[in-house]
């Protein structure tokens, strides 16, 4: 029960105090709200992503009301762009221009709060290549950048490096974690690359690399991984009843060649290299 105003004992009681209606302190005692549905739970909104203007224009909105964006499933707040400055307009408190990186154009605004900001913007002119770091903002469907740093490019290898960095980050975000795709049931070539020995992805069909994953998951099973001599081929076969015996034996040979498993006391005993 909540009585007079002096009954507030601490955060745990706040919800009880206000439970009757009226102003509800949203999440005042709860854990921090998760960052939107389906996005990475890691606080990636803190990172600086190198992007092209095309990637920004193609980015999905992470939620309608927050006007935040997501690129490759990662929430984007701070971006780096490299391109040519066009239509520079100097105003009293800010400088606005358009950045054209060859993949598209985007409006950029740079607020000038200190003299160092003004000095920085005085160094760049129309037609110059610039590196822009800033926050990606959306307003009524239109995207623009609020820059906190605009530097003129002096070494043009920076332009090449930026595009390569965009590719690198894109590949990392889309292919870096193959086990994320396991639930979609679509085996793709990226899964041929063995990232870690403890992947236990199980697919519905029995294609080549699925058998390979199944065999490895049997050998990495916590129930037997501590066994000093490992397990026999027959044990693996008995664990995978729906898989042809030949396929299992072949998969075991490939794992030995790749260094994922090794023989122990004799040729029919195998153990995973992963420490139990």
């Amino acid at each position: 029960m909540y009585g007079g105003g002096g009954q507030y004992d601490g955060a745990a009681n706040a919800n009880a105090l206000f439970g009757g209606g009226g102003f509800m302190p949203s999440q005042s005692t709860a854990v921090p709200e998760s960052s939107g549905s389906g996005l990475s739970k890691v606080r990636t909104a803190q990172t600086l992503l190198p992007l092209t203007v095309k990637q920004i224009m193609d980015a999905a909105q992470s939620s309608d009301d927050k006007s935040n964006f997501a690129v490759n499933g990662v929430e984007v707040s701070t971006v780096r762009l490299v391109g040519r400055m066009l239509n520079k307009v100097e105003r009293v408190t800010d400088v606005a221009f358009t950045l054209d990186d060859g993949t598209g154009r985007i409006d950029v605004n740079r607020w000038e709060n200190e003299s160092s900001d003004t000095k920085e913007m005085a160094d760049v002119h129309d037609g110059n290549y610039v590196i822009v770091n800033g926050g990606l903002k959306g307003f009524q469907g239109k995207r623009h950048v609020v820059a906190y740093s605009v530097r003129r490019v002096t070494d043009f290898n920076d332009v090449t490096h930026h595009f390569l960095h965009c590719i690198h980050v894109h590949l990392q975000l889309t292919r870096g974690k193959p086990h994320v795709n396991a639930n979609t049931g679509n085996p793709n070539p990226a899964n041929q690359f063995r990232v870690a020995n403890n992947q236990a992805s199980v697919y519905g069909n029995t294609g080549g690399n699925e058998v390979s994953s199944l065999v490895l998951s049997v050998l990495n099973d916590p129930a037997i991984i501590h066994l000093e001599h490992g397990v026999t081929v027959e044990y693996v076969i008995s664990q995978l009843k729906n898989v042809p015996e030949n396929a299992i034996r072949d998969a075991i040979k490939i794992h030995v060649q790749d260094g994922n498993i090794y023989n122990t006391i004799d040729d029919s005993h195998y153990k995973s290299v992963v420490n139990g």
């Binding site: 092209t52 203007v53 095309k54 990637q55 193609d58 040519r84 066009l86 054209d100 060859g102 993949t103 598209g104 154009r105 037609g127 290549y129 070494d155 043009f156 290898n157 332009v159 090449t160 595009f163 390569l164 965009c166 590719i167 894109h170």
Partner: protein, 107 residues
Amino acid sequence: MDTSTPAPFVNAETLNMFVKRRVRAVVQVQGNEGGMVVGQSTDGHQLTITGVDIPIPVSHFMEVFGIAETNQSIRAEICTDFGPNFGEISHTHGLLICPFVCSTMNY
């Protein structure tokens, strides 16, 4: 720069795929006569760039945005002097950049 048709990076080999379209290339200037620049592309072939309006010294690298007139020449719209020291991206990387530039490019 008309970004309704964003320009993919090309070298001499891939320029063939984008004739009559807007392209972007870096060449090393080997000769400059009256607005016509002869340059070496990133894969070692010669390209001719016409309509160059800025003075660029020989052996400097130059980036050009323009329309590919033939599979060996580009009519420049925008040129930028990249200076004498520029480590160029290879043919392979140039193709990788295409998806980020224009989704309509088929290659």
